[in-house]
């Protein structure tokens, strides 16, 4: 027993001793990616894409992903860890727009650059932000539902968890468009917490409360729109007769677009993650850095430009999902 312990300790020590010498052979950048939580498909896609970045694949960058478990305090503690362990840079996807600022300040004080991705944080210490504008997505989806019902009728809105930045901004986008159409009435507007199961029950109840009166469904994310479609089907109604829109482009939603039962816009997790890493590496290594992800060329026609990589904000455009591009999207998801 004791022998075993000694053997294990020697092994551990030898690994610890050889560690630094490996690192000296080639400069590896330790990057921490603090994400709000890994339970949804979207953040999974984001994390996978990050690991696919050329700089990670060739070993220039070592990524450690910190799962914030949907808790602001957990994320804050993880910033402490990254600062103490002297990470070279941090990619940050905050759970809370305000609470995240404390962590960013701590890192900034230790001269560690922080690049935001996907969700916003209210801090002027942030090096840059690479994300998509949720107000625009909210406008796009409301516009497509209202156009599909001919500019007049009744819609219902399934909202995200009240207070999250995506919910606030997507609602703003919804309302910007609704304000233009006087003949469109919002029958109901309630949260289903991004959840398919919750949206399913809620929609079932709405279909009873407003039997035959609901003309269109606006789901602030795909999961909820998909739940609503199941409720419509269960009621014996053809889902194509009630235009439904989601946001994000999760796999099931892309399939539903193919089937013609909903519309959605793709929030490009891969561009947000890889673009964020490029911007971060530029900030660490200096002006000689050239972006290595292919997203910069992919979106250049839609106005995304690298410039010298030091802009405070990079907007990744939304891509409407159509039957034409759905196959290609599914192919990238395995």
């Amino acid at each position: 027993m004791r022998l075993l312990k000694i053997a294990a300790m020697t092994l551990a020590l030898s690994i610890a001793a050889t560690g630094p010498s490996w690192a000296q052979q080639k400069k590896t950048y330790n990057i921490g990616a603090a994400v709000y939580g890994l339970k949804g498909e979207f953040m999974q896609l984001w994390a996978t894409a990050l690991k696919e970045h050329p700089a990670v694949k060739d070993g220039t960058v070592k990524i450690t992903i910190f799962d914030g478990n949907y808790d602001a305090l957990t994320q804050n503690n993880q910033f402490d860890t990254m600062v103490t362990q002297k990470y070279d840079g941090i990619l940050f996807v905050p759970i809370d727009i305000e609470a995240g600022a404390a962590g960013v300040e701590k890192a900034a004080a230790a001269k560690i650059p922080v690049v935001g991705s996907n969700t916003r944080v209210n801090s002027d210490k942030l090096t840059s932000y690479v994300g998509s504008n949720d107000v625009i997505a909210g406008e796009m989806q409301a516009e497509s539902v209202i156009k599909a019902i001919g500019g007049k009728g009744n819609v219902v809105i399934l909202e995200g968890p009240i207070g999250q930045s995506a919910q606030i901004e997507r609602r703003k986008g919804n309302q910007n468009v609704l304000a233009k159409y006087k003949d469109v009435k919002v029958l109901e507007m309630k949260t289903a917490n991004w959840s398919r199961a919750e949206a399913l029950s809620l929609m079932e109840n709405w279909l009873t409360a407003h039997s035959g009166k609901i003309n269109g469904i606006i789901g602030q994310n795909d999961e909820m729109a998909l739940g609503a479609i199941e409720a419509v089907k269960a009621k014996g109604i053809d889902p194509k007769s009630i235009p439904t829109a989601g946001i994000d482009g999760v796999t099931d939603a892309v399939r539903a677009v193919q089937a013609g039962t909903m519309v959605s816009v793709l929030q490009d997790a891969s561009a947000q993650a890889q673009g964020g890493l490029d911007v971060l590496l530029r900030s660490i290594t200096g002006p000689s850095y050239k972006p290595r992800s292919d997203i910069w060329t992919k979106y250049s026609a839609q106005g995304l430009s690298w410039g010298d990589g030091t802009a405070k904000q990079f907007n990744i455009p939304w891509t409407p999902i159509t039957k034409a591009n759905a196959d290609a999207m599914l192919a990238t998801r395995k």
């Binding site: 199961a197 029950s201 079932e204 109840n205 039997s211």
Partner: protein
């Protein structure tokens, strides 16, 4: 006069929850024309089926003075395992896949049961651990991704209808009758009450209390997985984040239904009414367009009121 008062009080104590349920329904049917329609009751029953099934297992556990916090996580893993088998290049039959999902529930329940019964670790701690372990395994199992394209045969258990009745409701009804019968008419059922009432005297009267306690956790695991299969079939995909915090509604249904958290007292029919009350509140407040914030306040108030009823009943005895 005095006697009359007492009779009313006894009646209230025994049937208070049923009476409350009726008043709730009357109130909602006055407030909204759609409430009493058949279509709406199909919704309520279908929405109640998942929590109802979880609450049946939970009743067994709570009757033995235990608690099972892991039901939501076991639900997710059961659904995901079944989902992975009914899809893919060489999908298995829905039947085989469901058996595998249920077996996962039984296995996780058995771990809970063994730790509680054999090693006497507090049920709260054991199942809190399992809540985390099973959720983690769910994410590991498919890299955190949902499983879609579930076969049509399998989706039948969530979306199908037999005549006018949704299949999940039929599954709930069968589950209820089987476990109601076991609890009421078998020796094992009597042992469950005996263990929860007074474990020591149950042991001295020759009951294998360990076996009874082990079995109730296996039942809860099995029913959690069953609920997971229905949920996956209803939402047409097995989601790794399904069922988060479902243990709270299941415990609430049991408590509203009059089962005592200190064990030994309670009925499955009470639990069913408890689950229906939660279902009716959620449905009714959706119909009335009440914000979900109030929904939570009202649900919480009813839970505490139910326990107060329970306490006052005990004082009388």
């Amino acid at each position: 006069m005095n006697q009359n008062n007492r009779r009313i009080r006894n009646l209230l104590a025994d049937y208070g929850i049923v009476i409350a349920f009726f008043f709730l329904c009357i109130g909602l049917s006055v407030a909204n024309d759609n409430f009493l329609t058949w279509g709406n009751w199909v919704n309520i029953l279908r929405q109640t089926s998942i929590n109802g099934i979880l609450a049946i297992g939970m009743t067994y556990v709570i009757l033995t003075k235990g608690i099972d916090l892991s039901v939501g996580s076991v639900l997710a893993l059961g659904g995901l395992v079944t989902g992975s088998l009914v899809t893919g290049a060489a999908p298995h039959s829905a039947f085989i896949s469901m058996l595998a999902g249920l077996a996962v529930g039984i296995a996780l329940g058995a771990v809970n049961g063994a730790l509680v019964a054999r090693l006497s670790v507090a049920p709260f701690v054991v199942t809190l651990g399992m809540l985390s372990v099973a959720r983690g395994l769910t994410f590991i199992y498919n890299d955190g991704m949902p499983i879609a394209n579930l076969s049509k045969d399998f989706r039948f258990i969530g979306q199908g209808m037999l005549g006018e009745v949704p299949v999940p409701v039929i599954i709930l009804a069968i589950t209820f009758f089987v476990f109601w019968f076991i609890l009421k008419y078998t020796t094992f059922g009597r042992y469950v009450y005996a263990v929860g009432g007074n474990e020591r005297s149950a042991k001295t009267s020759g009951i294998s209390t360990r076996w009874v306690i082990f079995t109730v956790y296996v039942i809860s695991g099995l029913l959690s997985a069953l609920a997971g299969l229905i949920l996956a079939a209803r939402t047409t995909s097995a989601l790794p984040q399904a069922g988060v915090a479902y243990e709270l509604d299941a415990i609430a249904a049991v408590v509203i239904g009059g089962t005592s958290l200190s064990g030994g007292v309670g009925t499955l029919s009470g639990t069913l009414v408890g689950a229906l009350i939660i279902g009716v509140i959620n449905n009714g407040l959706d119909l009335l367009g009440v914000s979900s914030y109030y929904q939570q306040v009202i649900k919480g108030t009813i839970i505490v009121a139910a326990v107060l009823l329970d306490v006052s009943r005990k004082k009388q005895v």
